[in-house]
């Protein structure tokens, strides 16, 4: 996905040719999605599960990247993951709605609706105040989920196997089908994100990060841009949360805990804000490091992760994406 979802560098000859359309990017993105889906047929189950989690968690971090482009970093994206996850699990268990695609979209929509009332307030804040406010909301959600027994309290609860388009998923294929669903949704969201980032609204978001005063003096609305980005980030987080929960078959309050939010910020910083594809690469890196470190040195895997992040910040301060987005500041 890496090379497919990036725009050419500003000023490069290709930028002048390809800067106005997305046909090539969409074609490459869909092609890469098809290759991943086909490869999943032959991949071991542990690998398809790892990539499913990477793509779903990458969606959650994609929301953070959208906000980072406007100059703010939320430390409460775990709340969106939890809202999406609980929505999918509750719809499955309480409403009997079992369609995996429907559950995923419901997770995104409910997170978006839950975030909408807070978005105008949060759009007033920047820097550490924005980060702390989102963290506070996330921790309030965590506290509520821990205390509400009907939601399983601190243990959370399980959900069964979803269906897809009315068809039951067989034992042998359930993992693969959820993998394909997650990859397809991640590709669609990644392409939409690229189109949004390259749009007039996307460019104004970057301008907000650079100079809010001038945006207002040009007639643009800074608060509107930040409000929209926060709501879109919530949708990404909820969608990813629902996909994570369906693959795990379990949901718990820890999804909204601050350390979970920290992991998504880690991925967003690792990927950088320039490239959409880099977010999913970074998410995959995190899952790989987490999986192998947990197996071989379970008590020190965070140490390995921290050292890796230090390395990236030192040598790639704009994230992994800057490797192939060099010169592009949008």
């Amino acid at each position: 996905m890496s090379a497919t979802l990036s725009t050419p560098a500003v000023g490069s000859p290709s930028a002048r040719v390809a800067g106005t359309g997305h046909g090539r990017i969409v074609a490459l993105g869909l092609g890469f999605c098809a290759v991943l889906c086909l490869a999943g047929l032959f991949a071991p189950k542990w690998l398809t599960f790892l990539l499913t989690m990477a793509a779903a968690n990458g969606l959650v971090s994609l929301g953070i990247v959208g906000l980072m482009r406007g100059g703010v970093v939320p430390f409460g994206q775990g709340m969106m993951l939890a809202l999406g996850g609980y929505t999918a699990a509750l719809a499955f268990n309480k409403l009997g709605f079992t369609d995996a695609l429907g559950l995923a979209l419901a997770g995104g929509v409910v997170s978006m609706l839950a975030a909408a009332p807070f978005a105008p307030l949060l759009s007033r804040y920047r820097g550490i105040f924005f980060a702390m406010l989102t963290l506070a909301l996330s921790m309030v959600t965590y506290g509520l989920l821990m205390k509400i027994e009907v939601l399983g309290g601190s243990d959370g609860f399980n959900l069964g196997r979803p269906t897809l388009f009315g068809q039951a998923l067989p034992d042998a294929r359930v993992g693969y089908i959820l993998y394909v669903l997650t990859i397809v949704l991640a590709t669609v969201m990644a392409l939409l994100a690229r189109i949004y980032f390259d749009s007039t609204r996307g460019l104004v978001t970057v301008a907000v990060r650079e100079n809010e005063l001038r945006v207002e003096y040009l007639g643009g609305s800074v608060r509107q841009a930040m409000t929209i980005n926060f709501i879109l980030a919530a949708f990404c987080g909820g969608l990813g949360g629902a996909l994570v929960v369906m693959s795990l078959g379990h949901v718990e309050p820890n999804f909204s805990f601050w350390t979970t939010s920290g992991e998504f910020v880690f991925v967003a910083i690792l990927g950088g804000w320039q490239s959409v594809a880099a977010v999913f690469v970074a998410s995959t890196v995190l899952e790989v490091v987490r999986s192998f470190s947990s197996a071989y040195f379970p008590n020190t895997w965070q140490l390995a992760l921290g050292l890796f992040l230090l390395f990236v910040i030192r040598f790639l301060p704009r994230g992994i994406g800057s490797l192939w987005m060099r010169g592009n500041n949008r």
Partner: protein, 251 residues
């Protein structure tokens, strides 16, 4: 007489400092007005009050008869008032072209989630304005790396993207070398020549530039208007010679 911009009884204090004291000014459409005065005289405060950055303690500002005193900068911009800044307010990490595209997008007020910012017609519009300001060669350069004079021109070019009816230029030639000032102001005025009907107010310290480019001069001192007339007349008054140009003090 109907004014495009009218300020009535403007008052503004910052603690003990009087930045505006009973300012009454009417500007007619198409005028080229220079605001002059020593540092702290109240020129930039006046510009900031017109554009909504500062609210007057008392008084009223109207644009085409509409009261804009309580409006925010964005709302005033959308009514057709644009400004440039003493210190250019740009997007340093973006290219010159992208700065223009941001300005285009904001002025159009039709922000889209999917319409590419870099579509051909938007690029063509941006390039046409860059050409007028002789900035084409800097099109793809990162703005943070541009020389000061070029940044000033870009700042003004961005303000012009919305074809404003009133343009305020805050010291357009400050920070530029003496040799560059005149060619730069000529470039600005030539570019503005394409904007039929745009009224221009510019804050300026160089009296030669004022005499050459202004059709009217308003001189400020300690928050008061001490002269308001044609350049030749205003610059010859005793108050202006004493408090602005310093000629009487020198004599």
């Amino acid at each position: 007489m109907s004014f495009i911009l009218e300020a009535k009884g403007l008052q503004k204090r910052f603690g003990a400092v009087v930045a505006a004291s009973d300012i009454n000014i009417g500007i007619t459409a198409g005028e080229r007005v220079s605001l002059i005065g020593s540092n702290g005289a109240g020129k930039t405060t006046f510009v900031n009050m017109i554009t909504g950055y500062l609210k007057p303690d008392d008084g009223r500002i109207t644009l085409d008869g509409q009261d804009i005193t309580p409006l925010a900068p964005r709302a005033i911009t959308r009514l057709g008032v644009a400004r440039s800044f003493q210190i250019p307010q740009l997007y340093g990490d973006l290219s010159t072209l992208d700065n223009m595209l941001v300005a285009n997008a904001c002025h159009d007020q039709k922000l889209s989630f999917w319409q590419p910012a870099r579509r051909p017609e938007a690029i063509a519009r941006a390039e046409a304005l860059l050409e007028r300001f002789r900035l084409t060669e800097h099109r793809d350069r990162r703005v943070a790396e541009l020389p000061g004079g070029v940044r000033k021109l870009l700042d003004i070019a961005m303000a012009l993207t919305g074809h404003p009816k009133l343009l305020l230029l805050d010291e357009p030639t400050s920070g530029v070398s003496a040799e560059e000032k005149f060619p730069m102001m000529d470039t600005i005025m030539a570019a503005l020549g394409h904007e039929k009907g745009t009224t221009v107010l510019f804050v300026e310290h160089d009296m030669d530039i004022v005499e050459k480019h202004a059709s009217r001069v308003i001189a400020f001192y300690a928050g008061r208007v001490i002269a308001d007339d044609k350049p030749a007349i205003a610059l010859a008054t005793d108050d202006v010679r004493r408090y602005v140009t310093g000629e009487l003090l020198a004599e």
